[in-house]
Amino acid sequence: MSIKKNVDLATSPKSIVQKKLEELGMKFCEEIDRGVFPTVQMRSRSISNIFYSPKYRQYILGKSKVTRSSRNIAHLRPFAQMVWTAYFVHELLKQKKTSTLRDVYYSAQAYDIFFKDQSESDDIITDLETVIEHPRESFNVFPEERSAVFGDLTIEYTVPGYEGRRMNLSSHPDGVMIGPALTDARFVKTSADKVIVVEKGAMFTRFVEEKVYERFNAILIYTAGQAPRSTRYFIRRLNRELGFPVYIFSDADPWGMHIAMVIISGSANAAHLRELTTPDAKWAGVWASDIINYKLPSEKLSEIDVKRLRELRNDPRYKDRHWQKQIDIFMKIKKKCELEAFSRYGLTHIVDRYLPERLKELGA
């Protein structure tokens, strides 16, 4: 069956949303021009205004509305935060980029807008959804995704029903899930020459959108935290069968370090196995020294972090000089930071500056 194109739900909301955001900005500007404090109205999300609708068969908001006024001292801060968020997602839409909730939280700092914690920024995004009356996916704010691969690599399936069928791993821009079929696939053709592994879904999507695979001839892997074993196996295959160097990017803290280390040297739990490590893979960042050199926003190490670092210091897998040095720096500066921290310098900073510098430094 062929699908008629009378409704195109996939993209039309985006242009509507874009327009609504612009109108909102215009309204505020005009109000200020007139010497009137800008206000915005939205449906109240308080418990007393949530009703079950038998017609829609879901919970809906009632008629009660709330007004946010920039005249009201208590509203001023969230009002400004919402205007910024509107501005930020409008930029995302204009540039056809996506983001995650966590990314939004970090990005705010670049604009001198501060959120107490991520739950505050999540709340503001929910406010904006309420004002615009579209879900945040319509303004390109997505939740995190799970372990996946992306890049110019044609594979050939060996699973039943797919024998001989081929697929290029750049064919699905969300990333191709690493599952049984992919693990068992043959590698056929590629123009890439390296593998870049990232721990966080947000960075993976960022790298895809910024065409890291083209600009650096890379196959991208997203581990979703500690890499699942099938993913570690897949990384090893890329390294062994194709001879590609592997660069791993993870959070700058003992746990992030260890995500890289487990890909490189495996875990004690899997000591009886040989097929899950990639000894030549490199931990490419974020290093403790990067926190200083790139002036990244950071948090204090917790007691548990410090305890973990002490353990790692005595772990034979960490005996190499570079690892030891990074552990020493962590202990000295008593700070840690996440991959997304680069967003403080703009979304593309990590790709435009950090990545090329680091790859060059590592001789890639």
């Binding site: 955001l21 612009e22 909102l24 900005g25 215009m26 505020f28 500007c29 005009e30 200020i32 021009d33 007139r34 010497g35 009137v36 404090f37 800008p38 920039s70 005249r71 001292i73 001023l76 801060r77 009002f79 400004a80 205007v83 910024w84 509107a86 501005y87 409008h90 604009y111 001198d112 807008i113």
Partner: protein
């Protein structure tokens, strides 16, 4: 013996009794007291001490000393006067306690300021209740009157435990200093530490007078005592002479109602008639209320001085209530509240209780003062018990309504409690006003900072969204510093002018940043091309600030400042904010 029930309490009570005797002696002499207290260990003993208390009071005439210190006097006196003595015979009690626990005599040295100084060593013959004089010496006082010593030194030996008593002793002395700001008190403890409480005023409160008992407050025993000693031979005169505020007219009316002949010789009244007479006096509603001139309250000035001196608060309010009476006993309640500064913030309210200038430091919780303090809804005054504030309550009366023999707990006497409650309410209201004003200034300053922080951002990102250049936010809000480190002179000088025509509300915020000198400031507004004074001249003490909201439209607003005293320059910062709508 009450007050001597354990080793800690014994030390405390002994010090207290002797100190209070000394304070009373100074009151009598109308001289600001100098009290010197020394407690020292006796040799190697772990628990026996020598206590020496010296004062500059009236002194005691030599032949009186053995009776005053070596005997319990059950006097035949019935006239009333406000006095400290908690146990009445307190000093002698301390001496007796010392004698029992150490078997050592008391040493007393005294002079009334005449040519002799007398020194006694005495024991009390307990069975016979009379002094045993062990030793008596006479010293010469200098001939020059100005160099003569006057006062009393009492030195006893006693058993006790200072380590345990210490907190209460120090608390007692601190509180004593609080209600006796005209006294110098020095205490040297057994470890050789010196505690000094200096007087800050020379003025003493007026001394109490002695009065007759009020008919409402008389009991059978007192009445019998009066009858035994009276020289009057008819009831009409008897009533007038021996009772407070009973004149001829009232005496006549009362006796008529009581059914007693005016001519009756009081000594002929039979016991049952005396009982009946007491009841009749209590029932009769024609007596005038007692007068308070027998009382010696501290007065608001002295109380404030004492609180400032010992608590060093940021704010204090004091209130003396009008004299009142219960059951024929006149009384006056004085209340203070102290906030901030060195007043500590504890889990609970700090409460200081005083009766006839004596601090009550034991058995706090059963006291009616606590009951009253607890009954108050402090939220009404924007206070919570964990804030740094203290309540000071002083009750003075010819008869303090104690609840127990221990004389540490005030009973819930309706009339007294009402005065205490109203007193606390008055001072608490003053504190509440002080705090809310302080809070308002802080809040407004914070509010305006929020506008200046966020409005520009709203404008900027809205413009970004709309794809145009940012709108001008000064239509909504503007802040201007009109004085910046301005040094005042003897004459008013204008600040910069703030163009306020588009704002419906204008905020003025002036700070005197000088460390000592006060300033005078005022605020003017341009109305119909004329500068009108909007806020008249106000004094701005060193470190303080004014924050005012001006409502109504003015073309412009400015501030003027000058030194309060021509030669004392002050340092002024001032801001004006305008907000539209």
């Amino acid at each position: 013996m009450a007050g001597f029930t354990n080793p800690a309490r014994s030390i405390f009570t002994s010090i207290r009794e002797l100190v209070e005797n000394s304070l009373d002696a100074a009151d009598v002499a109308r001289i600001p007291p100098e009290i010197y207290i020394r407690l020292s260990k006796d040799g190697d003993s772990d628990d026996t001490y020598t206590l020496r208390v010296a004062d500059n009071g009236s002194g005691i005439s030599p032949h009186h000393i053995p009776l005053a210190f070596g005997q319990f006097l059950f006097s035949s006196k019935y006239r009333l006067k406000q006095a400290r003595g908690t146990f009445g015979l307190g000093g002698t009690m301390a001496i007796l306690y010392g004698q029992i626990t150490t078997n050592k005599p008391v040493k007393v040295i005294s002079s009334t300021g005449k040519s002799l100084i007398v020194e006694y060593r005495l024991l009390i013959d307990i069975e016979k209740n009379r002094p045993i004089i062990l030793d008596r010496k006479i010293h010469a006082n200098p001939r020059a009157k100005s160099k003569r010593w006057r006062g009393t030194v009492v030195e006893i030996h006693l058993r006790g435990s200072y380590a345990q008593a210490m907190p209460k002793v120090l608390e007692y002395l601190k509180q004593t200093a609080m209600v006796n700001p005209y006294a110098n008190i020095i205490f040297i403890d057994p470890r050789g530490r010196l505690y000094k409480f200096d007087r800050t005023v020379e003025k003493m409160p007026p001394p109490p007078k002695e009065i007759n008992p009020h008919p409402y407050g008389v009991d059978v025993e007192t009445l019998q005592r009066i009858m035994r000693s009276t020289t009057e031979d008819n009831m009409l005169k008897f009533m007038q002479k021996h009772f407070h505020r009973v004149g001829e007219k009232i005496a006549r009316d009362f006796l008529k109602r009581a059914g007693i002949s005016e001519d009756r010789d009081p000594k002929t009244l039979r016991p049952e008639e005396i009982v009946d007479l007491v009841e009749k006096m209590k029932e009769y509603d024609g007596f005038l209320p007692p007068e308070a001139d027998c009382l010696s309250p501290l007065g608001e000035d002295l109380l404030r001085e004492g609180v400032l001196k010992e608590l060093e608060p940021e704010f204090v309010a004091v209130r003396q209530r009008k004299p009142s009476a219960y059951s024929g006993h006149p009384f006056i309640v004085e209340v203070a509240i102290a906030y901030g500064g060195k007043v500590p913030a504890k889990d609970d309210i700090l409460l200081y209780r005083f009766a006839n200038k004596i601090p009550l430091v034991y058995d706090e919780s059963g006291d009616v003062c606590w009951k009253i303090v607890r009954s108050i809804n402090w939220r009404r005054y924007n206070l919570t018990p964990n804030m740094p504030f203290a309540i000071i309550i002083h009750v003075c009366s010819t008869k303090i309504p104690y609840k127990t023999l221990g004389k540490e707990i005030l009973a819930d006497q309706l009339e007294v409690s009402r005065e205490i409650l109203n007193g606390i309410r008055e001072v608490a209201r003053q504190l509440a006003r002080y705090l809310s004003r302080k809070e308002r200034v802080k809040r407004q300053v914070r509010r305006l900072a929020v506008f200046s922080r966020y409005l520009p951002k709203i404008a900027r990102f809205s413009a970004g969204l709309a794809g145009r250049r940012p709108p001008d936010i000064s239509k909504l809000y503007q802040r201007k510093q009109v004085f910046k480190g301005f040094i005042t002179s003897g004459k008013y000088v204008d600040s910069e002018i703030f163009d306020s025509h588009r704002y419906s509300v204008v905020f003025v915020h002036i700070q005197n940043k000088h460390k000592e000198n006060p300033a005078a400031v005022r605020v003017l507004g341009l109305v119909n091309s004329k500068w009108e004074v909007l806020i008249p001249e106000s004094t701005l003490t060193s470190g303080s600030e004014i924050y005012e909201t001006l409502r109504g439209r003015y073309k412009a607003v400015k501030i003027q400042a000058k030194s309060l005293k021509p030669d004392k320059k002050s340092l002024i910062d001032a801001y004006i904010d305008g907000l539209s709508q």
